[in-house]
Symmetry: C2
Subunit: 452 residues, 2 copies
């Protein structure tokens, strides 16, 4: 049975650690999943965590290590001798995890650890994987997979699979290659089990195999696996030779990170911050966006300053600063958000730039009519001057239309230059939209009061 | 080989359709993946899509149907006779897809279709699944799985698996149950293949099985599968009987939707909008958030109105409206965003309310010191009056501290009442923060000018 993680459970564990009840702690650890142990290590103190860690052995110790947050893992490994890292941790890992872990270490440490890996094949696999860019299929894939030759029989394959399966956690698919290692097709384990053993593999496998190249971007891999509902996808090089495979669990992380990055951009946080980071790191990550707001605000102060005579003459104009700014910002962010989502789900087939802007304009027009009419009625009802009423409604209409165009245009342009379009839903564009709304309002407002 | 989807490819296909080249179109469709056909149907016109659809048969037709966006699918099915829907589409689907599709139809249509399903077992499975809430494990799971009895031998199991596997796309795991159908453990297909056939299953299976209950919330299922890197998880009822399984592809959709919902909330769009929705639907989804901005703006106008005498006396106070509002909004959203993320990754072990607010306060303090000092220097440098300089800096400091507390407190409170905390990063709270910043500024500003 699985133990339930509660605070009482952890407190009880801490008492056992304090009392040095090694046997009991070991027994509890035996029954816990590595991911749970990693979670517990995140909430107990450093000494307690170290006490637990030395009780773990072999594969479980390395599984726990992989489940730890990156910072904790790196700090822990940098403090250990390189031969221990190689033989007690890396030796038990899949090639993709091993490459990820080594990639986090300093160059010097990395070289040392690689030097101490006894299994030459594993060391070679890791070096291969380290050569790929993190954000590509090559950086995501693992070398462990089960492959068979297209010319073999089912019986030979089953024997070969038994041999290869030792290194592979989950098989999912058997990959069929020719004599040069070029991927020819895939075979489901199910089909293999249900087929007589003398049959040739070449008659069984599915040639309609979806694969990615080592240099395919990781987000594209994620989209592909999601679209075609794949649990594993083979990775080939530029001439089609099978190099590795990517399993869905690694892609789930890509999807989660991609989504979180957009949310962080929209809410004004730099990309790489975690809720557990220190006060100092958090302040630093948030300050740049606040400075953008600060400079925008100073710019706004200067703009308003140049209109001081008009504002002194018609002070009621200032009443609607908040309204105009809030609407400009909100409309802009909405438009950008729609574009960001449509870009994320875009294929080569969907229509481009002009179609999106046209559609957005029609939406903006409807919302602009509704909002500026409402504020017109309000101003009339509350007996504000005709000049103010007209200034606010006309400005609001213009601001909504303008912010929509700007909000659509910016992410499309960012995307064209291969910059994450979600940046457009963040504070920089919001602040710009706020200020442009203000400028429009001041120009129109002055005009109305002068004319009427 | 896979065909590449390009606009030229689709235009070529459209020409073939226009020329009624049925054989050629059929040949092309044979080579396309259902997900690709669905994508093509999304960009060609209704008549062309219908032409393609009648050429598809059996499983492929139903796979394409499942890949279509929900709106298109429902419109298409509501227009077909119920017996066709039952026999040509539902008959070829897995139970979870069938239940999802039927769940989208009108109650009357749903009853009719169920009535026409010939396979009584399938109809029963669908009715069972329809009884669960969409957002629970029961609503996500499928009934198709491979289960064996704990008392059987490997040989019996392999035979039984061959029989059951017909209905199951991918096996992943074999579930072991007792005579009452209670889940006892799981068995990997790999282990089964590698073990002599006379061995008893009871000696092989892993009792450490992670399962969910039919009423577990779908987001919890997603978190669990992500944490433990599972490709499939068994679903049991309250007394532990195996009811179905959830595969990772369905959970990927949950993760994606969850992330998109937060992003949409943060950027002021109602939850269920797609970029492909009509202009009218998009306007309607965005208007509520704009009206919030509008009412906030009107409230702002009334607040400023009450300060008209002070503003007429010290018009330079209005210069810094944009700065104060932008900073209040930005800080509030940042704080809420950090809380939302930390709630998402929270477990029962992490510390609550007061710890989070205290940490946030320390971050706010650092940023408030930096920003208010900078604006102090700016104002002194540009020769603004001492009263204005002090008013802006003191207000900015207070606004940053206040917005941080508010921004932390609101999502925590929403979460406590089981409302999505990401709502706090949306326009409503931003607008509130803007306005509260303004009020603080007006009060402090008036005080400074009166005193100094």
């Amino acid at each position: 049975m699985r133990l339930e993680l509660t605070r009482e459970f952890v407190e009880n564990l801490q008492e056992l650690i304090a009392g040095k009840k090694t046997d009991e702690v070991s027994r509890i650890l035996d029954e816990l999943h590595p991911a749970d142990i990693a979670e517990i290590m995140g909430v107990i103190n450093m000494d307690e965590a170290r006490y637990i860690y030395v009780l773990l052995t072999g594969e479980k110790a390395s599984d726990v290590l992989i489940s730890l947050p990156e910072d904790d893992r790196t700090r822990f490994l940098e403090g250990l001798p390189s031969d221990i890292v190689a033989r007690h941790f890396i030796a038990f890992m899949d090639s993709d995890d091993a490459a990820d872990v080594l990639g986090e270490l300093s160059d010097e440490k990395k070289e040392e650890v690689l030097h101490f890996i006894r299994d030459v094949e594993q060391a070679g696999d890791i070096v291969d994987l380290l050569s790929y860019d993190e954000d590509t299929a090559g950086g995501l894939m693992q070398k462990e997979l089960v492959q068979v030759n297209a010319n073999w029989t089912v019986q030979t394959c089953l024997k070969e699979i038994s041999r290869q399966a030792e290194d592979v956690d989950e098989i999912y698919y058997v990959y069929v290659v020719d004599n040069d290692g070029v991927l020819k097709g895939i075979l489901s384990l199910k089909k293999l089990i249900l087929t007589p053993t003398h049959e040739k593999i070449s008659k069984l496998y599915n040639v309609d195999v979806i694969s990615v190249r080592t240099d395919t971007h990781s987000e594209e891999v994620a989209n592909l696996m999601e679209k075609y509902d794949l649990v594993a996808v083979p990775v080939v090089d530029s001439i089609g030779r099978l190099k590795g495979r990517i399993t869905i669990d690694d892609v789930v992380d890509v999807i989660r990170e991609e989504a979180e990055r957009d949310y962080q951009l929209a809410t004004g946080i730099s990309e790489d911050i975690e809720p557990t980071d220190s006060v100092w790191i958090q302040s630093r990550a948030r300050l740049p966006w606040l400075l953008i707001g600060l400079f925008g605000g100073i710019f706004g102060a200067r703009v308003i300053g140049t209109y001081e005579p008009s504002l002194a003459a018609y002070p009621s104009l200032t009443f609607f600063f908040p309204l105009i700014m809030a609407m400009g910002g909100n409309v802009g962010v909405q438009s950008s958000s729609i574009v960001v989502q449509s870009l994320a789900s875009d294929s080569l087939l969907t229509k481009g730039f002009s179609g999106k802007i046209l559609k957005e304009l029609r939406v903006a027009f409807i919302n602009a009519i509704v909002c500026s009419s409402l504020i017109f009625v309000y101003n009339q009802f509350f007996g504000n001057s005709y000049a103010l009423t007209l200034a606010v409604s006309v400005s609001l209409f213009s601001v909504i239309i303008f912010a929509s165009i700007f909000g659509t245009f910016v992410p499309l342009t960012l995307n064209r230059f291969r910059i994450n379009p979600a940046l457009a839903t963040g504070p920089f564009i919001t602040t710009t939209n706020d200020l442009l709304g203000l400028v429009i309002y001041l120009i129109i407002g002055k005009m109305m009061f002068t004319l009427l």
